[in-house]
């Protein structure tokens, strides 16, 4: 009788412990998903801030980041530095810094620049570095064909 009770108790405890382990694993994956979402938010915010600063330099929109660095007639080195790196204002400021790692204009089938790819890297104070590419929509305005920002989307 005692042996049976011990065996039954052991089965009950082991089964509930395995369920508890599964719950703990789910909790851990939920936590990492939450952290990933925060990174996504930071990257999306950084892309918005970079693009909004870039909007003041239509001359740079049709050129790549390499071209901006090589030739400072459109944007000075100091401006480029301010544009490409920084912190996200508000509570995210202490969470990490962003860096514009790439900007490459894209042409449509007829060779007209209609967009660009903007890549931002997020370095959090704690956790992994993440990077994301955003699509910048561009449109030609006026008779001189100068470009204008139309949006930034993931």
């Amino acid at each position: 009788m005692l042996l049976l009770a011990f065996f039954g108790a052991l089965v009950l405890l082991l089964s509930s412990l395995s369920i508890q382990t599964a719950a703990l694993q789910a909790r851990s994956s939920e936590f990492s998903l939450r952290r990933r979402r925060q990174q996504e938010d930071a990257l999306a915010s950084a892309a918005q801030l970079v693009a909004s600063r870039l909007a003041a330099f239509p001359c740079a929109l049709g050129l790549s980041l390499r071209a901006w660095i090589a030739d400072d007639t459109c944007m000075s080195e100091e401006v480029l530095q301010r544009l490409s790196t920084g912190t996200i204002p508000g509570p995210d400021a202490e969470r990490g810094t962003y860096l514009l790692t790439d900007y490459s204009p894209q042409s449509n089938g007829s060779g007209v620049i209609d967009g660009a790819l903007l890549t931002v890297r997020w370095t959090p104070t704690r956790g992994r570095v993440s990077q994301r590419r955003f699509r910048v929509l561009l449109a030609a305005t006026g008779s001189d064909g100068s470009l204008r920002l139309q949006g930034v989307r993931p």
């Binding site: 009788m1 999306a44 915010s45 918005q48």
Partner: protein, 122 residues
């Protein structure tokens, strides 16, 4: 089988059942809460993405600081079940904060200048 054996067996089984029930209960509560949290998170994702949708509703060719204020007004009005959306204007951009019960705060920045819907000054 003695009476002592039967009593001890009963006590051991009873204690194991109680502990097991508590563990089951905790896991069940977490599983139920998880489903609710996932639903709220999905709603919050939609609320956070609203900044992209609302850009098209802005009055064109106004100064970016005015456009940011207008955007904040549009985002503040948006309501989502159980969520609190707050739009804070800072300079020429808007910080959209969406809170959901039981979840940490999430926020995203939106800049009308990045959508070409306002007059940009250097």
């Amino acid at each position: 089988m003695s009476l002592v054996d039967a009593l001890m067996g009963g006590v051991v089984f009873g204690l194991a059942s109680t502990a097991s029930l508590q563990l089951y209960g905790g896991s069940l509560q977490f599983a139920q809460g998880r489903e609710e949290r996932q639903q709220r998170e999905a709603q919050r994702e939609l609320a956070l993405a609203e900044g992209y949708q609302r850009m098209a509703d802005l009055t064109p060719d106004q100064p970016c600081s005015a456009a940011a204020k207008e955007l904040a007004g549009l985002l503040d009005l948006s309501s989502h079940q159980g969520l609190t959306a707050q739009a804070l204007v800072e300079g020429e951009a808007v910080r959209l904060v969406v809170r959901a019960p039981g979840l940490p705060e999430r926020s995203r920045w939106y800049a009308p200048a990045a959508f070409g819907v306002c007059e940009v000054g250097r």
